[in-house]
């Protein structure tokens, strides 16, 4: 064993004296350093995580511009009196109606709403957009205003009992949302939402449930926008998942699929984690989720240089020594040939580990510096019914290794060719061609969709991240749909893929071993 380590030391000394190695290491480090900086610079001036909420200024501005378009609003207003029977009573009404051209309905409704807002709402006490509760009350209030204008726009002569019933109903709703918005009393509003959503498995039902949950956490609507968003996303996700579990059916973008046991477990785990995060106040912000994912995905750029480095190192490992003849001093030494083989393999894999470590370390440090150290979340998983975490750095490193499982195969391939040929250029070249070929095959898969034979290709079995780290994406944010599209969905099971890769790697190693250990050196 000590001989292997001595050989390994020598291998590392040899590699450390190669200029090409250091150039690629340099490029890799520069890429690792610059990518987070670029991401940060690109997005720092865009308030991606702030929604546009109405403020006093914006509402005033809107009101003024609408008022200008409408001109004298009084000219649209007509008044009349009407008598009709409502049950046993004779209703005597003095009504107002708006004689509006079609194009101006919306404008007028908004003006009506803005005027009411500006007259009654205390912007200094409660900015409307601060919480989910206030914002929902606001949008409902504006919706009710709109409906009231529409009802009033119906010509006086055409109004009948049903109009009157609707009017009373809408008036009541307007009052409810007015109370919620102006007085920050959301309970009545919730009761209304509940009463008006009859469908059990509906989007509205989820909204209602989210509202209720949120009411428990923030009864007066005092939370910040970011916090609100995080809670809402988590609530939505939980209700969504629970609904899916209850239905036992999931829409995968094309068809409805019955949940498998594994998928059911996956969803249950996600719910457990989200509920744990809610209870323990550990909910990740959307920004934090995005930065965490950006960190994971931007590692692909330095990865390119690592890949080049590794293919160069692995590809020249044996062939270059054969070509220059320096292999002789290894063969003459009192070490068995398989030990040389193992030591060379170890030296190549050291660069994988060191490279991955450096990329992860620099990338993580950069993102932490640019966005604050709290931004990168640990990885949550459920084990034995309990929620556990892996610290971000370790997770990031593991993620990098799993995500780059193809790297290992390519290195072995380059190493194998290196053992079989005396030409370092040839082995590096062939591996590079295979690399490009794989990208080509991947794009073919995108074009032709999934076929059985495609499942048997190496590239179909190298996308292990979604199988191993199922909880990276707990709920949907803007970026992850793009990311899923990029990485694709694995079609084979984890067990199948792992066995496939082990057999593949084993075969490559065996050929390499046979070529190097058994062959005569001329």
């Amino acid at each position: 064993m000590s001989k292997i380590f001595k050989l390994y030391t020598n291998e590392m000394i040899k590699l450390s004296h190669k200029i090409s190695v250091w150039i690629l290491v340099g490029l890799m480090l520069i890429a690792t350093f610059l990518t987070p900086l670029y991401i940060w610079k690109q997005f720092k001036n865009q308030n991606l995580y702030e929604q546009e909420y109405p403020t006093k200024t914006s509402i005033t501005k809107e009101r003024d511009s609408i008022a200008e378009q409408l001109g004298d609003t009084d000219k649209y207003t007509k008044r009349a009196s009407l008598q009709f029977m409502q049950g046993d009573h004779v209703v005597d009404l003095f009504a107002t109606y708006y004689d509006l051209p079609d194009s101006l309905y919306d404008q007028y409704a908004l003006l009506y709403c803005y005027n009411a807002m500006l007259a009654n709402y205390d912007f200094d006490k409660y900015p409307i957009g601060d919480t989910y509760l206030a914002f929902r009350a606001y949008s409902n209030f504006s919706m009710q205003c709109h409906t009231m204008v529409e009802l009033n726009a119906i010509p006086f002569e055409e109004r009948d009992t049903s109009w009157y019933n609707e009017y009373i109903n809408q008036n009541e709703l307007l009052e409810l949302s007015r109370t919620a918005l102006f007085n920050h009393d959301y309970n009545a509003f919730y009761e209304y939402l509940k009463a008006n959503n009859k469908g059990y498995y509906s989007y509205d039902n989820i909204i209602e449930n989210v509202f209720k949950k949120f009411l428990e956490i923030d009864p007066n609507g005092e939370l910040s926008i970011d916090e609100t968003n995080n809670y809402i996303s988590a609530f939505y996700a939980i209700f969504d998942f629970k609904e899916t579990l209850e239905l036992g059916v999931e829409y995968d973008g094309n068809t409805y699929q019955f949940l498998t046991d594994a998928r059911k477990k996956e969803i249950e785990d996600k719910v457990t984690i989200l509920e744990y995060q809610l209870q323990n106040n550990k909910l990740a912000s959307i920004m934090s989720t995005d930065v965490t994912q950006a960190n994971l995905y931007t590692q692909a750029f330095p990865r390119f240089f690592l890949m080049l480095l590794l293919i160069l190192v692995a590809g020249s490992s044996v062939s270059q020594e054969m070509a220059t003849g320096s292999i002789k001093s290894l063969i003459i030494a009192p070490v068995k040939r398989w030990k040389i083989f193992v030591a060379k393999l170890m030296s190549v894999f050291t660069w994988v580990i060191v490279g991955s470590f450096l990329i992860t370390l620099i990338s993580t440090t950069m993102y932490s510096c640019l966005y604050g150290s709290d931004i990168l979340q640990p990885y949550y998983y459920v084990s034995g019914g309990e929620v556990k975490t892996i610290p971000f750095f370790l997770f990031s490193l593991l993620y990098f290794l799993v995500n780059n499982i193809s790297l290992f195969i390519y290195i072995l391939l380059a190493f194998m060719i290196s053992c079989m040929t005396k030409n370092a250029g040839l082995s590096v070249g062939i591996t590079s061609v295979l690399l490009v070929g794989n990208t080509f095959v991947n794009s073919l898969i995108l074009i032709f969709g999934n076929r059985t034979w495609i499942d048997m290709l190496p590239s179909s079995n190298m996308n292990l991240v979604p199988l191993i780290f199922q909880n990276i994406i707990l709920y949907s944010t803007g970026t992850d749909e793009v990311l899923t599209l990029l990485s694709g969905n694995p079609t084979n099971s984890l067990q199948f893929s792992i066995i496939y890769l082990v057999v593949l790697a084993g075969t490559i190693l065996l050929i390499a071993y046979d070529a190097f250990v058994k062959k005569d050196i001329q």
Partner: protein, 311 residues
């Protein structure tokens, strides 16, 4: 001479490449303290045999025992006792000579930094040891190769054509180093060459190989004696034919190559005196007698069936 365990035993080693048998049932022993010359024409199987001993090529059959260890069963112990250069010495050319030696030393037992300095001094490279090997001349590369081969004080030192690229002073120095290593440190040295003259100057014993077969092993003294026993003398005379007639009466004498005024005779040293006396007595004129060449090469050519480069 006391009976010692051979440093290297090659028993019945055989290697074929396709249809060609490169090494054909070769067996011999190498003893501590001797310099063994391995002589043969190009393509005779010298390098194949050396590569077999050094672990580059697996023998198809046969046993190789180094310092008492069977190479097959005790590979690392056996290889610990062997050092050498196969064909050209190849180092990691972008590393310094010293680093090359340190890396090589790491793979052996008990090689200290002092030993590295010692071998560097021995081959005269102590002042340029920190330069990258790629800056070295061919001769310097041979020297550093020798330094590496000697580094771990091997019991068996095998050098394949070691004088390639060395200047005359270097060759002289190499001879001294090899003799010293063999005779003082008791190392068994095997040197391969196709140059007989080189072998004569440094070897104690010579093995002659041709077409993969080991034809003969003899000590250099025997070979010289054999050569001395019959040298070729060119006798210059005005009438070679008459001289031939006179000399043909003598036994153990071979006459070859008759020209208009010379004849070559093959005979030992005492014999030539008698020949001269016989010619003088018969009245033939003798214009000159010249010893043409040692017939070591002749002997060699005869053994190997020709094809050697004689310089």
């Amino acid at each position: 001479m006391e009976k010692q365990q051979p440093a290297l035993q090659i028993i019945d080693a055989t290697k074929t490449f396709g249809k060609k048998t490169a090494v054909d049932h070769v067996s011999f022993d190498l003893h501590p303290g001797e310099v063994f010359g391995f002589l043969g024409p190009n393509g005779a199987g010298k390098t194949t045999l050396i590569k077999m001993v050094m672990g580059f090529i697996r023998p198809d059959a046969g046993t190789i025992i180094i310092n008492g260890f069977n190479r097959k069963t005790h590979y690392e112990e056996a290889m610990e006792s062997i050092g050498g250069i196969v064909e050209n010495p190849e180092m990691y050319s972008n590393l310094s000579a010293r680093l090359n030696l340190q890396m090589y030393a790491r793979l052996h037992k008990n090689v200290t930094n002092e030993r590295i300095d010692e071998v560097l001094r021995l081959v005269g490279l102590q002042d340029r040891a920190n330069e990258a090997v790629k800056k070295y001349s061919l001769g310097m590369k041979q020297r550093i190769g020798l330094a590496q081969a000697l580094l771990h004080r091997p019991k068996v030192l095998i050098l394949d054509e070691p004088t390639n690229g060395l200047d005359p002073a270097g060759i002289h120095q190499l001879r001294d180093i090899l003799k010293q290593t063999a005779h003082e440190e008791g190392t068994a040295v095997m040197v391969s060459s196709h140059l007989l003259s080189e072998m004569q100057l440094m070897c104690d014993r010579i093995g002659i190989i041709s077409h993969g077969k080991l034809l003969q092993i003899c000590s250099i003294d025997d070979l010289t004696k054999q050569a001395e026993q019959s040298s070729i003398y060119r006798i210059k005379t005005s009438n070679p034919e008459a001289a031939q007639k006179i000399l043909s009466q003598k036994e153990g004498l071979k006459i070859s190559n008759l020209t208009s005024n010379t004849l070559d005779v093959e005979i030992d040293e005492t014999g030539i005196n008698e020949c001269v006396r016989m010619m003088v007595a018969s009245g033939s004129d003798i214009l000159g007698v010249q010893k043409l060449e040692s017939s070591l090469e002749e002997a060699f050519l005869e053994i190997t069936g020709g094809g050697i480069n004689v310089e």
